[in-house]
């Protein structure tokens, strides 16, 4: 896995929370690589520290131990990471376009230069014509699309996604998965995607990393060699079933 286009190497990453009842090991030594333009999913049971892992990579939490090595000299973590949260987290006092441009303002970049890009991204996520709407006027799926456009606006190399479609209904979720794959292939980004839906992980990813329950260890890593572009029909194939069953077995659900 040590190809020369590795973007991110996670080495023995640990996180220990200090609680009233002593130490709580949320993340027990996790190591893996993420290659450029790869779609990597992390699955695991609830409370296994998936979100903790993502938040450490984004710099929102300090790590307790281990290393995050960035194999790119020009990689500035605050500029090169886009984060899509579980909730859409749109600022309801800003119009859709201004929500998309929020990272530009925070990073103190020239807003004017990014307006055209914001329009393009909104087109990319299928929200052409909604630029001047307020978030409250959009459905949950549309709001999450805005937040994807927002994560892409400053052109980061790495997109971190923390169960972004967890709050959506099953049908919208399928649609959003297809949309995400289209966006990913068009925008040519590296995506690190967290979910507890094994089907979703297999369907989206080049590789699925499986974490065990707390204290989480990496218990498996599966290269998903399904043909791209992915289609919903693939979900009915024996190959797809094999991948998911393998992962289920790894998690000791079956």
């Amino acid at each position: 896995m040590s190809e020369n286009n590795t973007l991110l190497s996670i080495r023995n990453l640990r996180k220990v929370y200090q609680t009233r009842d002593g130490e709580l090991e949320a993340l027990g030594s996790v190591s893996f690589d993420v290659n450029e333009r790869e779609f990597v999913s992390i699955v695991g049971p609830s409370g296994c520290g998936k979100t903790t892992l993502l938040r450490i990579i984004a710099g929102l939490l300090p790590k307790s131990d281990g290393e995050i090595i960035v194999n790119q000299s020009n990689f500035d973590p605050t500029r090169e990471v886009g984060f899509v949260f579980q909730k859409a987290l749109l600022l309801h006092w800003r119009r859709v376009l201004d929500n998309v441009l929020l990272p530009i303002e925070i990073l103190k970049l020239d807003r004017k230069k990014y307006i055209d890009r914001a329009y393009e991204l909104l087109k990319l996520v299928g929200l052409d014509g909604f630029e001047k709407r307020y978030p409250n006027e959009l459905s949950g799926g549309m709001q999450q699309r805005v937040s994807i456009a927002r994560a892409l606006i400053h052109d980061p190399k790495l997109i971190l996604m923390d169960e972004p479609f967890g709050a959506l209904d099953a049908i919208t979720r399928e649609k959003m998965n297809l949309e995400l794959l289209r966006i990913w292939s068009e925008a040519q980004k590296t995506i690190l995607f967290i979910t507890h839906e094994i089907n979703e992980a297999v369907f989206l990813s080049d590789r699925v990393i499986v974490l065990s329950a707390r204290p989480s260890k990496m218990v498996g890593s599966y290269d998903i060699d399904l043909e791209r572009p992915r289609t919903l029909q693939q979900k009915a194939t024996a190959e797809f079933g094999e991948y998911t069953v393998n992962i289920y077995q790894k998690l000791e659900v079956v």
Partner: protein, 250 residues
């Protein structure tokens, strides 16, 4: 329409029962205290209206400005919050109208002490509501800008302050009424101008129609003031009203 019917009924009742005008004046007599040339000249309406309106607007501006500034300060620094909040709460438990005589001794007669009295009475709801609104921000929303290394100033201008606006307006609406109360109290105690002074002056002469006329003016002022605030609310927070419309669309 309802108001007109009530006024007509009032007029008819007062005439029919021959109620004395120093008990309950008829609407016509109240109108006379505005428009009858002799009465209008005596009452000098504009002079008093301007004094009261000036006091109310002045104290309101001060309340808004100082209230928001204190709220930002309290939210910015946890230490400030811990030190100042108890003092504010303690201060708020005093009936602040009772401080009015003190202010008059300190600051003398005129519009300025009235503004200070009204400010003391009215600033608390603005501070509390604005501070609550600035602090009632979802942690996730802060993470959204923190991962981009947002500065404290950016967190305030982009997130906390806009988030506090609905709360602030709730506080403003309470404070606006209290400003009117504060200014009137100041005018009652010691002033040569203002509707509060005119009310007391008319009371001395048992001039009931003028007293009622003062109430009418105060009511009109109050309604216009409230209307202006609601208008400002719509202009400053268009998203709140867009949402209402879209609920129908969706």
């Amino acid at each position: 329409m309802v108001v007109v019917i009530l006024l007509v009924a009032w007029q008819i009742l007062v005439d029919a029962l021959k109620i004395k005008k120093y008990i309950l004046p008829s609407p016509k007599l109240i109108l006379d205290s505005f428009f009858d040339p002799r009465m209008a000249a005596k009452n000098k309406w504009w002079r008093h209206i301007f004094a009261t309106a000036g006091g109310v607007l002045g104290s309101f501006a001060l309340t808004l400005f100082a209230g928001v500034a204190i709220a930002i300060f309290l939210t910015w620094s946890k230490t400030a919050n811990r030190l100042i909040m108890p003092i504010l709460v303690l201060f708020n438990s005093i009936p602040k109208i009772a401080l009015a005589p003190l202010f008059l001794l300190w600051l003398g007669y005129g519009v300025f002490p009235n503004i200070m009295i009204a400010f003391t009475v009215a600033f608390f709801p603005v501070v509390i509501n604005a501070a609550t609104g600035m602090q009632a921000v979802d942690d996730d929303l802060l993470d959204l800008v923190r991962y981009l290394n947002a500065s404290q100033l950016q967190i305030f201008t982009k997130i906390r302050i806009p988030n506090s606006l609905p709360y602030l307006f709730a506080g403003i609406k309470t404070s606006a009424t209290m400003c009117v109360v504060g200014v009137l109290v100041g005018e009652f105690i010691a002033s040569k101008r203002g509707l509060g002074y005119l009310l007391r002056d008319a009371q001395a002469f048992i001039d009931m129609p003028t007293m009622f006329a003062c109430l009418v003016v105060l009511a009109i002022m109050g309604i216009s003031f409230f209307g202006l605030i609601s208008l400002a609310e719509r202009l400053i927070m268009p998203w709140r009203f867009a949402a209402v419309e879209s609920n129908v669309q969706r």
